[in-house]
Structures are given as structure tokens and as C-alpha cells.
Amino acid sequence: MSPSTTAKQASPAIGPAQIELLERLCNAVAVSGDEREVRAIVLKELEGVADQIQVDALGNVLAARRASQPGALRVMLAAHMDEVGMMLMEEEEAGVFKFETIGGIDQRQLPGKAVLVGKDHLPGVIGVRPIHFYSAFAELETIPVEELRIDLGPENGKKAKPGQRATFATRFWQAGPSLIAKALDNRLGVATLIELVRRPPENVELLAAFTVQEEVGLRGARVAAFALNPDLAIAVDSTPANDLPAWDGSENVSYNTRLGMGPAIYLADRGTLSDPRLIRHLAATGDALDIPYQFRQAGGGGTDAGAIHRQRTGIPSVSVSVPGRYAHTAASIARRQDWENTLALLYHTLERLTPVLLEADR
């Protein structure tokens, strides 16, 4: 793999406007099952841009761009709008709520965090018992979520109620080459898809699905794929980069992906064995245009592709992710350059797609 460089070819680029959009997307609250805020941004951004746009029964936004020629491949691109978060479950005392997590949040990420609750973004905190009340450090154990509370204070507490959703309160910021925010998984994908709908390669019919409920079971992608019935699909997501040093200084052999090494192409995860024809095509595109890419290590995890490829009589599918450290926590970190290369790789991969690719057996 070559070092991180940006493709020279014309493709949608990441400029201040794209960064500003990503910032708005990351700061929005859209926990699985209530994607209203992100959906509103997507609809606004694509107003007058897409040839066709609809919101389906589950809340997916389905936007289409027609190809310049008839008989073009119908390509579904999916990016999930939802993020992991919490739901208020029961008010215990004024402004203090029991809560449950939604999506895969490690409960060790919760104590001592600030959160935003509901559509009014009411601020609250997840407090813990002061360290002074322990007699020895040996008493400090993982605090189960059942013992934690979201505290909004008595005033704001009156405006909140059980059933509302909450996320970490982190605001987006940039640090040198890095983008830091909550929910980079998967607002990076959403922002990427918006750019592709704005400036689509004209040789394919682009079917963009901004999906709901990925984090609770790929539900939106499933019905979107059934409805669109595309020739092939690419899930655009953000995948963990665990590229930190190992505790004993040994070689890190389970990094999943690495920041700065370009978009991550999926080979196999818990839900999908990527279509080898699409893997080869993505890699060939990267090689030909000098766009860096990496293969995500095979193993667990999953994307919308897990639901998409099983619809109807089978849909050739692959996933491409922007690598990001610390997914599903209060602050995740990605590289702007990786994002830019992801956008470039996707754009040119689509641009170079022809029906011949799928005529051979996988």
C-alpha cells in the first residue's frame, strides 16, 4: 500500500462546506429508532438534487440519480443515519432517570459523561459515586448500566420523560489531520453519500439509501434493499481502527484497520462475505488511480450489507468504511484524508463499473 495521498483525478472533494456538513451531522442526535434530526438534514441537503426522493415506512431516505444512458447498472449505496445511544426508562426522583443503552455501547464508556436528551437536546450527566467513598482502589469495579442514572436536574427533568433518547454531548472538532466527534460512525458515511448524490458518476443509476436502525439489527437496510432491488450494493460505513500499541509491546496483530491507510474494503465480517468481484474491482480502482486502500481484517462486526445481500434472489454486496478509532464512545477519531480517499475510491469505483463485472460467476 502506498502512503496516504489524494487521488489526482476529478472526484467530489472534501472542502470547508463538506466539513461543516459533517459537523452538523455529528452534532445531531439520532439514536436508532428516532433518526429525525439526521433525516431532516439529509432531506434538506438533497432537496432539488436527487431525481427522486422518498421516505419509507421505517424512515429510510431513498434518493435516486438517473444514469445518462439507459440500461445502466442500478447501484445501491447505503449509509446508516442512526447512532448508538440511550433511552430514558423511568424517573426515579426529580430529574434522575434510569436508562438503557441502545446499540452496542460498552458500559465502561458511560460513567462521568455529559449527555443530550430528546429533541430539545436537554443537557444531563451520568454521575458516579465520589472516589472518596471507597476505602480502597481494589473496590473499583465496572459499574453496570443498571446502577447508573442520567441526571438532568429538577428543572430540565420536568421537560424530559421516559421513552426519550439520549446521546453523548460531545461537539465536533478538528485537530490537525483528525476529525473528532461522537457518531462519526456513521455520519461519515452519510456525508459521503450526500456528496455522491450531489455529484454522481453518470454511468450508473445511483440509488442512495440513508438507512435507519442499523445499530439494532440492520432493519432499515433490509427493507430498503427489498424495495430498490439493485444490481449490486455498497454499504458505506465507519469501522473501528484499533491501531494502538499492545500492552506488552508485542506486535499488534488485531488492529481491524489503521488510520491513515485509506478506505477499508471489507472481505468478510459476521454478516457478509463480500462479493469477490466487487472486492477485486475496488482494489483495481485504487491501484489504477493511486488511491490508497486497506483490507479490513476479517472477523466480527457487520454493516448494512449483511441485510442487503440476502434480499430477494441475492444482491452482490461489499462494504467500504472510513476507519475510525473509538467507535460507539463519546469521542471517535478519524482522518480527513481517509475520508477524502473513501469518497474518491467510491466515486471512481462507480465510474469504472460496467455490467460485464457481474456476468462472471462470483
Partner: protein, 332 residues
């Protein structure tokens, strides 16, 4: 059929990369089907017959794929770490030899554990391809391997890699050969991506839109020393599945299978499997629903590089399925 079983056992076809074994099956069934097609996920679907008035559209499946190993990292010293495609227990991997799709070979080793009581986790085993360092490695991230084991003929019993489910594949091919007349329109479907979660069967069944489904596969036997309490034994005939941890077979189908076996004097066993399931699970809930059942061939040492089966069980399974498909079903 033995030669075919050997050929299929030694063929390569890990989940998602079934092309080599699919090509082998394609050539074996080419003259036997009215139509052959391969779908988007790699299922091979061979159709035969047309539906008579009292016939049904039937899907008969056997999965093609076997457990695979995919390289996730090659370390500085040249050892390849891997993930499995399908579930294999790490302790059964150590010492096994593997062959990659790019024909590189290797052997599986395990890290030294701090206690003899412990079992290896998957991240504690690796493939040694003999490469002296990362630069010399013939394999890279994403390369896929399968077990490398020659077939062993023990007479009545047979041992091989991937007998789960190549013995089922052989049985379905043999059914195609022997079935002379049938009232049904039959889709002999050799499915891809079973061991990763019945993915091939899911989309194949959607495409075929069957009115009846039968899956042919292997099932673990309980006839080895200190095995868990399971009734299935080698040599006692095909196992007609009643339930497993993923599905309950349609009682009409189960009754039809047992009565057919009894009438044809084919010995059979009844299967209740805990901790495993069949791809018929996925077919049963396809579209508006499909009555589904399974014929299983008892097998020892599942998901290891040496799976052991009884030849007579295979032959009786074939005989049973031929009997089943030769006549209309009784519940219409």
C-alpha cells in the same frame, strides 16, 4: 458414489469462494438437469421435471461450502493470523494442514499457553506457511485456505475433510441420477454460504418459490465415547429431523418421511439436534412459508479436518429421497 464422494471431499470450496467445487458439481449434473444456473450468491440451481397436477414445486438443497480460514495479518516473522469462515473450534485446528486458493500450503500452530488446562482461543493460533518473515510470505491479508487432507476409505466407513456437506452433495447428485419419474418440478439446489448462516438457501428459496423443501446434510452422531446424550448413531440409516435449535420441521413432512421409509423398509432414525441447525430453517420462512423437512446423514468429528461417515447411511439416504420424490405428497 464413493469415487464422487472422494472427489467432492478433496475439492475446494470455502464459504463465499465455492467456485472450484461448484464447477465440479456443474459438470457432474450437466446431463441430468433441464436447466442450470448460478445466482448472485453462488448457488448452483439445477431444475428438472415439470409439475403434474398432483405435483409440487420442490427445492432439494445440499450446501456446497466448507469451513474456510481467511488471513487477517501476516506478522513480522511470517506467521499468518486468521479468521474462520464458519465456526471451527481452535483446539481441533492445531496440527491441521491447510491449502490456500492460491495453492500456498501451511500448517496450523498454537501459541504456548500458561496452563495445560486451558484451550486455545482463535487469536492464539496461526498458520505457518514456512515463510521466513513477512516479505517472504506467499499469503497476504484476505487469502483463503481450506483443510488439506486426503480422503480415507475405511471400507464401510469413510473419512475426509468437508464430508460436511460434500456427502450431502454427492447424495443429491445420486438422487438426480436415480430418480426416473416424478410428479414434481424439482430444483436441485447446491447452496453457497451455509456455514456462515444459511445465506445461500435464503436467496435460492426466494428465487425458486417452492411449495416443499427438503435439505440434505450431515448431523453429529452421539455414538462416540462419552458423547453427549444424543440418539443418533452411524449405520442406523438416515436421520429424519424433527427439530433442531433453529427450527421445527413440518410435522406433515416428518410423518411423510417416516411412513415412506417404513413402507420402503429403509432403516431410519429420528433426529433432535441441540446446538445446530439446518438451512431448511431459512427456507421454511421464505415468502409466504414453505413446509420443510430434512434428511441428515450421521457424521462424527464435525467441523474438523477428519469427518467420518457410514457409506450405507448415505446410500439409504439417497434411497429414501428417491422414494419421497417419486410420488405425490400425501397431504394435498
Amino acid at each position: 458414489m464413493k469415487a464422487l464422494i472422494q472427489q467432492l471431499s478433496e475439492a475446494t470450496g470455502p464459504s463465499g469462494y465455492e467456485a472450484p467445487v461448484r464447477e465440479l458439481v456443474k459438470s457432474a449434473v450437466a446431463g441430468l438437469a433441464d436447466e442450470l444456473r448460478v445466482d448472485a450468491l453462488g448457488n448452483l440451481i439445477a431444475s428438472k421435471g415439470s409439475k403434474s397436477q398432483d405435483g409440487l414445486r420442490v427445492i432439494l438443497t445440499a450446501h456446497l461450502d466448507e469451513i474456510g480460514l481467511m488471513v487477517t495479518h501476516v506478522d513480522e516473522k511470517g506467521f499468518a493470523r486468521f479468521a474462520t469462515l464458519g465456526d471451527a473450534l481452535p483446539q481441533t485446528l492445531i496440527g491441521a494442514r491447510v491449502r490456500f486458493l492460491n495453492s500456498a500450503q501451511g500448517v496450523i500452530g498454537g501459541e504456548q499457553l500458561d496452563s495445560g488446562e486451558k484451550l486455545h482461543r482463535l487469536d492464539q493460533v496461526y498458520i505457518d506457511t514456512g515463510a521466513a518473515g513477512r516479505e517472504k510470505s506467499l499469503v497476504q491479508v484476505g487469502d483463503v485456505a481450506v483443510f488439506d487432507r486426503p480422503f480415507l476409505d475405511l471400507g464401510q466407513r469413510m473419512v475426509g475433510k468437508a464430508l460436511d456437506n460434500r456427502v450431502g452433495v454427492a447424495a443429491v447428485i445420486e438422487v438426480m441420477r436415480r430418480l426416473e419419474t416424478t410428479p414434481h418440478e424439482i430444483y436441485f439446489t447446491f447452496t453457497a454460504q451455509k456455514v456462515v448462516g444459511d445465506r445461500g438457501a435464503t436467496v435460492a428459496a426466494y428465487g425458486v418459490d417452492p411449495q416443499l423443501a427438503i435439505s440434505l446434510q450431515v448431523t453429529p452422531s452421539g455414538d462416540t465415547p462419552k458423547a453427549r446424550l444424543a440418539e443418533i448413531a452411524l449405520g442406523h440409516g438416515p436421520a429424519i429431523k424433527v427439530r433442531d435449535s433453529g427450527m421445527i420441521c413440518d410435522p406433515r413432512v416428518v410423518r411423510w418421511m417416516t411412513e415412506t421409509a417404513e413402507n420402503a423398509k429403509i432403516a431410519y432414525q429420528l433426529e433432535i439436534l441441540e446446538g445446530g441447525t439446518s438451512e431448511a430453517r431459512a427456507i421454511q420462512i421464505t415468502r409466504g412459508g414453505v413446509p420443510a423437512g430434512c434428511v441428515s446423514i450421521p457424521c462424527r468429528y464435525l467441523h474438523t479436518s477428519s469427518e467420518l461417515i457410514d457409506y450405507e447411511d448415505v446410500q439409504k439416504s439417497v434411497a429414501l429421497v428417491v422414494e419421497l420424490l417419486s410420488r405425490p405428497v400425501p397431504w394435498l
